[in-house]
């Protein structure tokens, strides 16, 4: 049987710069695959190419054995691919409930409030007025109610208090345990490695480590090496700021 998400030889360019370079990646169902790398390594770019936000320059992406490399975004979503973008992309003028309704009909919203009971109280509040933590829960819940098979999570911990992040990670684990495949991009490497199964480290668009989370956790020098490689000032692609 083919793996849930399979990426082969993927190249992605932005404004003529090659940002992701010949990446191979397999993310099975029921597992958390952790994707690490320094700022600007190309993690967001990789996820965006998988969900179709930006086109791939070369290589292929397949979901359950079906090529989705040039499929339209909406169609990929309807095939079971959910992408929680970096930066808490709520629809600010819509309420919490309306945000969820974008992804699923009213009868299917239950799981969202089971997962994050605190959202229930904020049901009819405009999502632009929610706290950062609540907004992050909302975008995660919004992806879940569409009952995805594969979940791409881009720095869901960004800008959140440590206690909230510590609550969020077990939720990710539970989602994987329920059979969903998760590709998790995370700044807090240790927290992610604690709940993850396998891990990849990206440095300047290339995969420099691919193995188990356990292995990466037990050899901090490996991790540090990867991050340092990314911080090499020489011939680094132009930092345009913001991702």
């Amino acid at each position: 049987m083919s793996p849930l998400l399979e990426i082969t030889g993927l190249n992605v360019a932005r404004s003529g710069f090659e940002i992701v370079n010949n990446v191979d990646l397999v993310a099975p169902a029921g597992e958390v695959t952790v994707l690490l790398g320094s700022n600007g390594a190309g993690k967001t770019t990789l996820l965006e190419a998988v969900s179709g936000v930006i086109p791939c320059a070369a290589g292929s992406v397949s979901l359950e054995g079906e090529y989705i490399t040039s499929m339209r975004r909406g169609k990929r979503a309807r095939r079971g691919l959910a992408h929680v973008e970096q930066g808490r992309t709520v629809f600010p003028e819509l309420t919490t409930e309306e945000n969820l309704l974008v992804a699923a009909p009213k009868t299917a919203l239950g799981p969202a409030f089971d997962l994050f009971p605190s959202l229930e109280k904020r049901r009819h509040v405009k999502s632009g007025l929610l706290s950062g933590g609540e907004q992050q829960m909302l975008v995660l819940a919004r992806a879940i109610v569409g009952s995805p098979k594969m979940l791409l999570l881009d720095e869901i911990s960004l800008g959140l208090a440590p206690v909230i992040i510590q609550d969020l990670m077990p939720v990710v684990r539970r989602l994987a345990d329920s059979g969903i495949g998760v590709l998790l991009v995370e700044q807090f490497a240790e927290l992610a490695l604690d709940i993850g199964d396998s891990a990849l480290v990206l440095s300047r668009g290339k995969v420099v480590f691919n193995g188990s989370c356990e292995k990466l956790r037990s050899s901090p020098e490996l991790l540090q090496g990867a991050y340092l490689a990314g911080a090499d000032p020489e011939d680094e692609p132009a930092q345009t700021g913001g991702s």
């Binding site: 909406g74 992309t89 629809f91 309704l101 974008v102």
Partner: protein, 285 residues
């Protein structure tokens, strides 16, 4: 006095409807669409042409509305296919190009001479305390309110409406959640085209009705949309009806009646100046 105020209602209703179409396309398709009233004029001319060829009014009117909607939907299709990720300026320029092309094509097709449009309810009127109210006057007000109300309800209390608002707020994020952007864009344009076709059909019997003047209904329509801050259907409808009534009243004063067509411009100018001074427009946007 009241008589002439009421005589402005059919035009006012038309301005309101064009304004509603403009607001709809601005909010949901992210386009400042000058073209929409050209589609409307086209639909209205399809209606009058088929009526002149012997089709009954009851069939000619829906046919015209469908024609306007289809033309507008085609514009939506062009937008969804060729300019899905373009910014508002690019898309607005495309619609202006489309409007100019269609104006040229239509003047060949329908000629530049004014046509006489059939009134929707010939002759029916009643008198309320000495003031004559025609069925067309009532229809203009009712249609503007009912259509705007229906659109408001669609947006605020159906799942499709919520998804459409999400699409206008963050198209990429909405699409990642499975919202069919192309389909919805075409639907929004079709609806805008239909509403914008009802406007000239309503107003044409009471005013100069050549293709260009009907297309220019977009000017008072824009004024009404502006007064609604390009958001509020309620304010847009009130503003449209108000401009129509003001225009009709202006006929009574010899000194200004020749300039009354400039009234919408004046409204636009005053609103923009006031908005700039008061800076109240930021949160409306």
């Amino acid at each position: 006095m009241l008589d002439s105020a009421l005589s402005g209602l059919p035009s006012g209703g038309a301005y309101a409807l064009v304004g509603v179409a403009v607001v709809l396309l601005y909010r949901l398709a992210g386009v400042m669409s000058i073209a929409v009233s050209v589609f409307g004029a086209f639909g209205a001319f399809v209606m009058v042409a088929s009526f002149d060829r012997g089709l009954s009014l009851g069939l000619a009117v829906p046919l015209g509305i469908v024609a306007g909607a289809v033309l507008s939907a085609a514009m939506g299709l062009v937008m969804a296919w060729l300019f899905p990720d373009s910014d508002a300026i690019t898309r607005s320029v495309v619609t202006i190009g489309m409007a100019i092309t269609l104006l040229a094509v239509s003047s060949r097709l329908f000629g530049d001479t004014p046509r006489s449009f059939p009134p929707l309810f010939p002759g029916s009127s009643f008198t309320v305390s000495g003031v004559v109210v025609t069925a067309t006057n009532v229809l203009a007000v009712v249609l503007a309110i009912v259509l705007a109300g229906a659109l408001w309800l669609l947006l605020h209390s159906t799942r499709i409406g919520v998804r459409m608002m999400a699409m206008s707020s963050r198209p990429v994020s909405a699409e990642l959640l499975g919202v069919p952007l192309g389909l919805y864009t075409v639907a929004v344009w079709a609806t805008g085209g239909a509403v914008a076709t009802i406007a000239p059909i309503l107003a044409a019997p009471t005013r100069q009705a050549d293709f260009t003047s009907l297309s220019l209904l977009v000017v008072p329509g824009l004024a009404a949309a502006l007064l609604g801050a390009f958001r509020s259907f309620t304010l847009t409808v009130l503003a449209g009806l108000g401009i129509g009534v003001l225009e009709a009243l202006a006929v009574r004063w010899e000194a200004i009646s020749t300039y009354r067509n400039a009234l919408p411009f004046l409204v636009i100018l005053v609103v923009l100046m006031w908005a700039q001074r008061a800076e109240v427009w930021d949160d409306a946007r």
